[in-house]
């Protein structure tokens, strides 16, 4: 008996028990779709976090004040002195002491209200230096960025984020306009290009001022020389760990710390940020994926159950086919094909539904679902494998059945 003939027979048998076959296929389908969607959800969430962190810049190290061992990295309250200073940042910028560091951008950050005429807008005011633009991988939409000279002269200039500019000045443009922050009038010298980043730290809603202006003229207090973060850009991806070592050694020396565990700063790499931020998502994905895999397994047991019922119910048919000359091999093949077709149909339907929902759900909600090719292919392969594996036992039972048992009339 040819394979195509066997397939035809298998399809006929499945069609004969349409309802039962459909329900079995639905079982597998749900399992496969669930796997695709859960993996997609998890992957989507991870991608989202990763793209947020990537929007910080590339090949970045972030140095934050405070010791990771003594105080758990929690900074003191407002106004308390920071353990990182502008001097630290300047030292890191040395090409001799730190050859693997391409750029250094110290940063202070305070929330303040910006007033332009009758409009006001509260946003984050970032004090930094000229290198910030490169280090943070930002681009200018118009005007210029703050310069070293602005920093040296505590110039009353500001560069606005795209959203901030839009909120304060609307379509007429912010360039050469003025804003008032804490009683100081700043002239807008540039506007940043929208980076389109979403989430908690909106890069498009901020006002950048020279770090000296922020410390001396706008906010003052004890944070005149302190900085809240130093962004360090390594020359390239490969030199990231060398840059880390250099920054660490240099800062330990500057702060007079001999024991590295007593360090009053923490260096975090972008990778470790991504890792930390996505680890929860990964665990969730794993957990949900496991649940989905179990539902796929349940679908597989459904196939086996149906095939066993089918074998028991079709004893007469099996016996007749054997009497007419079907070898055990042929009977086994027929039932294996039936189970495999169920697995394949369930898998294909599951992939279709899974991918359909992966495209559909993001249209209705914020959630992004990325379609994982390996997960999709894997689920499809598993679905077919389930049909085959769970078909083996029933098919073998059918193949071993004695023809006389099937044909016995009394």
């Amino acid at each position: 008996m040819s394979w195509s003939e066997s397939l035809r027979t298998a399809l006929e048998a499945l069609r004969l028990h349409r309802m039962r076959s459909t329900l079995t296929v639905v079982g597998i389908m749900i399992g496969v779709a669930a796997v695709i969607l859960t993996v997609g959800f998890g992957q989507g969430a991870q991608d989202q976090v990763k793209s947020q962190i990537d929007s910080l810049g590339s090949n970045l190290l972030v140095i934050s004040p405070g010791s990771s061992t003594s105080s758990g990295g929690i900074r003191g309250g407002l106004g308390s002195a920071s353990t990182l200073t502008i001097a630290d940042a300047e030292a890191l910028n040395s090409k001799v002491a730190a050859p693997d560091i391409a750029g250094v951008a110290p940063q202070t950050q305070s929330s303040a209200s910006l007033t332009a005429g009758t409009t006001n807008w509260t946003t984050s005011v970032v004090g930094t230096t000229q290198s910030w633009l490169d280090v943070r991988s930002q681009k200018l939409a118009s005007g210029r960025f703050i310069t070293d000279e602005d920093v040296a002269t505590q110039a009353a200039v500001v560069v606005l984020g795209a959203t901030t500019s839009q909120e304060l000045f609307g379509p007429r443009g912010a360039l050469d306009q003025t804003v008032v922050v804490n009683g100081t009038t700043l002239s807008v010298v540039g506007v940043l290009e929208a980076s389109g980043s979403t989430g908690t730290s909106n890069n498009d809603d901020q006002a950048i001022v020279p770090i000296s202006t922020a410390g001396q003229r706008l906010f003052g207090g004890t944070s005149r020389t302190g900085v809240q973060a130093i962004y360090v850009q390594a020359v390239d991806q490969a030199s990231l760990s060398a840059a880390y070592q250099e920054a660490n050694t240099l800062l330990l020396a500057l702060h007079g710390t001999t024991n590295p565990t007593d360090a009053d700063f923490t260096i975090t790499s972008q990778d470790s940020l991504v890792e930390a931020a996505t680890s929860v998502d990964k665990t969730m994905t794993l957990l949900l994926g496991a649940v989905a895999a179990i539902s796929l397994l349940v679908g597989g047991i459904g196939v086996m159950n149906i095939m066993l019922v089918s074998v028991t119910e079709r004893i007469g048919e099996i016996g007749l086919r054997k009497a007419l000359g079907a070898a055990p091999r042929i009977i086994r093949r027929q039932f294996m094909l039936e189970a495999s077709v169920l697995g394949l149909a369930g898998g294909a339907a599951g992939v279709a539904i899974g991918i359909g929902l992966a495209f559909g759900i993001p249209l209705l909600s914020e959630q992004t679902i990325s379609i994982s090719i390996p997960a999709t292919a894997g689920a499809l392969v598993v679905a077919i494998a389930i049909g085959v594996i769970f078909g083996v036992y029933p098919a073998d039972r059918a193949a071993r059945m004695a023809p006389i048992d099937a044909l016995r009339t009394d």
Binding site: E5, A323, P328, I404
Partner: protein, 263 residues
Amino acid sequence: MSSQALAPGSATLATTDVVLALRDIGKTYTSGELSVEALRSVSFDIRAGEYVAITGPSGSGKSTLMHILGCLDIPSTGAYLLAGDDVSMMDEAHLAHIRNRRIGFVFQRFHLMAQLSAARNVELPLVYANVPALERRERAVEALAQVGLRDRTEHRPGELSGGQQQRVAVARALVTEPDLILADEPTGNLDSVASADVLALLDEVNALGRTVVLITHEPDVAARAQRIIVVRDGYVADAGQNDQRDLQSTSSLKATKSWGPTL
């Protein structure tokens, strides 16, 4: 009923050819502690072209014998030669092949597949013989014509009467041109008119040269055969005797009427 000629070739079988030979066949069913000796030391020959009835009371071992003759089961002891091959030690795959090529079955309950048309039911043994689809179809329609069902090829069993269904089964048994037609109580589920039809068909099949073994507990059905083998308690009580007429020259059925001992 049918005036179409049966397939040529079958008439060339020599009358003295032994188509099947049983030698000291025993069959013991064992289930747990219990064992039933269903057949003991059964020996007989059936020659090509013979029309044999196997009869006996219920529980005497007729069906067991039929299963062994049909290669549906293997004997516990003894040798069974079918067309010269010893089939008593063959594995299931080999037996399936023998059943497919050498034996045509007619069962009491027809055993047709309800979802398939008459033609596709008749095609079934050819499917397992790897006959190409077109030829299969042709041969199935031809076999249905032989049993007088040329205009019923697309009917499903449910749309046919019992007698017609059994004729489809006979067509299915004939389509592979087997050495042996085995009929187990073929009239058991039929009324007298349909029974007469089917028996006449078997007579005709035999008249055209094919070996027919008919299992029945009804004396008047057994009486149609040329020879009656009586089974009792698992042994052959009477192996019967074949008449000496020249089978090759027989083209009518009159010689087969009321021959042999009446039970």
